[in-house]
Symmetry: D2
């Protein structure tokens, strides 16, 4: 349930309202938007059935949310959320965020080289996996803490913030100390204990969609993080399970307008893991931009053929530079549609 | 198997080559591209195992196609196919094709009004269903022949070519006489007798992807039409079966680069049937354009709320005009990428 | 809408009731069950809003069906439908129907041999394709009319009724003359003109589930046949589209209890096309029986390795004989559950 | 890679063989089967390219496994694995394992009542969730440690071993101390850190299939546990993601013969979570038994309508008793097929 407050609500009424909600066993979460002040009531709405919220002094409107998420929904927050990661911002009408880097962190020199080249091409964030989820227990599983430290060092040397995946609640602290944004991978979208842990950290979170998740289940996973008081959540569509082996996963770009219709959270797209082939990455990145995404995350490797994981899908640095330039132009054009300039 | 001929092949050798192929029980299909002359050998390649095609006089190269389609593949034809429908052309680097119109043809006056408005907004083709496939036997199933005649009349009155669905091999003739392009719907992509019949007609064909079809199965359906000597095939992605009810179908935009990598046939996208909601149509149409599609097909209805079928997904004429303008601009930008103009 | 009539309804009232329904522009379809007489009203229920059916003389109850199918639903008919095919019956609490035979009819001698062996092993029907839907236009597409005649001859020689697929409305007549049951294949489940044509024929129909169809869409396809007055419809689950290449399709055995809960029509299972591997056929056939299916359809080939289509999934005759014996025993056990004999 | 040893291999040769493998940077895992002694080589097979294993003294055969799992495969172990949980055994030709109990542990008295009734009806294990994965952060998420203790107490009072889900690596120890078998839920099948932790515990593991997992990915998840030296893994099919809302998930019973063909691990089926409706549970449980599963896991609740989670899918105790009796009889019949008793 969402309460829209009257702009001129008396501090006394405001305090009584929050106390009443808590006395009934629910939680009150507040947000001060540009245009309106709102309280989301978390918990079982049945508990408040007896409380006459509609006529409570200072309450302008009671929105009974039929969706199972409250904090992630547009009813709670009308303005788009903008998430700050270092100097970068993701979401809102401004810049289109471009995240780039290798699938896994392998050697420091290589990482540094890629970091420099993607920064030069205009990337906003550096990605790189230190903890790698691998389907086989015998595959290369990342450098762990050592990889995190390399990311921090490369970040400082080049001046670009970083994002890296965390898979285990016991690693959250180490990740928070070393990288600027925590990624929750597709396999862990429903790892609820991990979501709660990254929620508590307050650190920016990049939440990938589960391969088998509906948009609603995805927004509920975001709600787990938001419910811990962490509002810095960016969604990332990366392909769901499909029946056609022509691409590695099935990129669901329609998730972009669906998310925009239901939520205030930013959404970006990972065309590299979605398609699994470098040749398909540029067209899907541009499609994501035209569809209204807030950014993309692209795999780049200095020598794609030598990468230890996911080699076929990484772009070479020069191809990434071309793509980044195309995306900047495209984003500019899409922001000022012909229809509105007539 | 594909034979690339030497430019200077002697007519005598050319004749002998074709005779040898036929004597072995296969069929020889020729195409004269801008850059090269090619013969596709249709039938069981085993039959030609004894024939030394590699050293045959006048043969430059033997391409052993591992894909099960020959005529639809890029090995057979390097240049993109351009399909003419009336004065319009679909495919190739030129114009982005916009097809628009009502889901079903209902009343002539309404049809005429929509035809005029979409033509004014820059549409290249008018769509409208006379034979409607409906999941329930009790739903409105279209006006049939009467609907086809309304389409012909509206087409002449407004000066715009038409496309309409054919579902029954016995209706092909009537459709050919009244509309400029035959649509094969998603439910009939594997209706092979119908594919053969539209193939024989020689008329332009808009072949929608089956809701359960891989790209390879779709190209094989196109091969059915091409194998009848009808080269005028345009593919149309319209969403496949997905597990998330947030959209009606699951639009697979990655099919665009996959088709472009494998085939010379044009591919367009139908965001209306894919998403099922008018609000999601513009972003998906623009995404299709940015991904490299050759056009889109969009449902437009004068009074969307009154349409007898698929009301929720039709755009109002003024929204369509805005979208068409956006698409024209976007297509222009995407054709001259920033990367290449540096 | 379904009207349950009072047992003692006066003929005069009955006549007036039917006339009233027709006068409103709907159709009245009657069924006399063992326990109750029922009229299904087909067409737009809005047209009857003004008619006080609830208090009409002779009407015991008005059942407002929320499902989009009427004739296929359990509201219309409580007792399970039993479909007669020659001397065989499919559906109801009696015999478990076993259909067996080659994927495609190839040579008469081979067909005759298989027919004899499956009949000896206790099969109730002989299957065999004369018109074969093939994904590639260059694959063997069946012997057509010649194949139908071979089926008729083998049927007479051995004394076993036959079922064969029809794909084109123009072939329905020839199929009706030569085989005892018409099969609608998975690719044609939504080929509505074909459904209407087999509906009009009155011949028994085996309706396979579309690879992309929900149970509801499948029952609506059955409704197309039933709405033509043809009540002889048997459903056949044969696997839907899945993401795991470990089996050819994804057999949905839960469709059995779902269909039983919603419809009176018999349902059988085709484990051969579902799994695509002979080794998996016996366990899935037995599972179908234990789940409550009314029968199975199994591919049998004298020399599975030599079959021109779908070789890997056909059982050898001796393996089929073992399976048939197992199924007869299993069906007997499942009909008299331990729980009820305690 | 799998090495089959000669029965009479000299201890000296055996030792040298293992040393050679380790010196190359791989791991040697041994199993002594009834019929043969085998060493699985874990790690990158490239490292052993120079080692002439085929002619090594005492090596009978080198099996180059093309599948990405080694320990889970039939090449490694021919005999079916039997997992002991308390006094119960799962797998092998013996008893059909029946696991039953509530979705979540709620109150001790209720739990005890259900434990008694399922034990009386012949259940082998008691299930009950203490840590519940819930899609919404606001839903009841289980009693945690208190729930585990209730399970231990009920287990002792009634004399039945228990299984309960663990979701967080930090909870493994507490679960091991209180329950007899650890369940990995569908959402955590690819939570690799958790798999490693339960692997290290040595405790029996019930590994549910991910809703989006192929059988191969599932066996690789099992390989994660096995690679820690924990051989006590039972697989549980519980439905994958499907497009038909008629059932909650899509039960893939063909996974049973597929797993049996590829692996030695036992496989059971959870028809309650798969279908989501109590009415469909008995037919799917029986189908699983007929298909060759080693057991089933069924939700039972004293008052299904009052359960705090998944109410619609729980059986009442008396319906469970009927089902258990049916399953015992069915399993007996399926073990002695008609075909073999002729």
């Amino acid at each position: 349930m969402i309460l829209v407050l009257k702009p001129q609500i008396a501090p006394e009424d405001h305090r009584r309202l929050v106390e009443t909600i808590r006395a009934a066993g629910c939680e009150a979460r507040e947000v001060d938007g540009k245009a309106r002040r709102v309280i989301a009531i978390l918990g079982d709405p049945e508990k408040l059935r007896e409380v006459p919220l509609d006529v409570f002094p200072g309450v302008a409107q009671v929105v009974r949310v039929t969706k199972p998420y409250a904090l992630a929904g547009r009813e709670f927050r009308v303005d788009p959320t903008v998430v700050r990661v270092g100097e970068t911002r993701i979401g809102g009408p401004g810049r289109f965020a471009i995240i780039a880097g290798p699938c896994a962190v392998e050697e420091y020199e290589t990482l540094l080289e890629i970091a420099r080249s993607v920064k030069a091409a205009g990337a906003d964030l550096l990605r790189g996996g230190a903890y790698k989820p691998r389907t086989s227990p015998y595959a290369f599983r990342g450098l762990g803490l050592e990889g995190l430290r390399m990311l921090r060092e490369a970040s400082r040397a080049v001046g670009i913030p970083t994002v890296s995946e965390v898979m285990d609640p016991r690693h959250v602290e180490a990740c928070v100390s070393n990288v600027d944004m925590l990624q929750i991978g597709t396999r862990n979208m429903s790892n609820f204990d991990l979501l709660i842990e990254v929620g508590k950290s307050g650190h920016p979170v990049l939440l990938k969609r589960g391969r088998d998740a509906t948009v609603e289940e995805w927004l509920l996973a975001a709600e787990y993080v938001l419910a811990q008081g962490n509002e810095n959540v960016v969604l990332c569509e990366r392909g769901i399970r499909g029946f056609d082996a022509a691409t590695r996963n099935l990129l669901d770009l329609s998730a972009i307008p669906v998310v925009k219709a239901r939520s205030h959270l930013p959404i970006i797209v990972d065309p590299s893991h979605a398609t699994g082939f470098a040749a398909y990455v540029p067209s899907m990145a541009k499609a994501a931009c035209a569809a209204g995404a807030d950014g993309v995350m692209v795999e780049v490797h200095a020598c794609p053929m030598e990468a230890k994981s996911d080699a076929a899908q990484a772009l070479a640095p020069e191809d990434f530079a071309d793509l980044a330039a195309d995306l900047r132009l495209l984003h500019q054009v899409c922001r000022t549609p012909a229809s509105r300039s007539r």
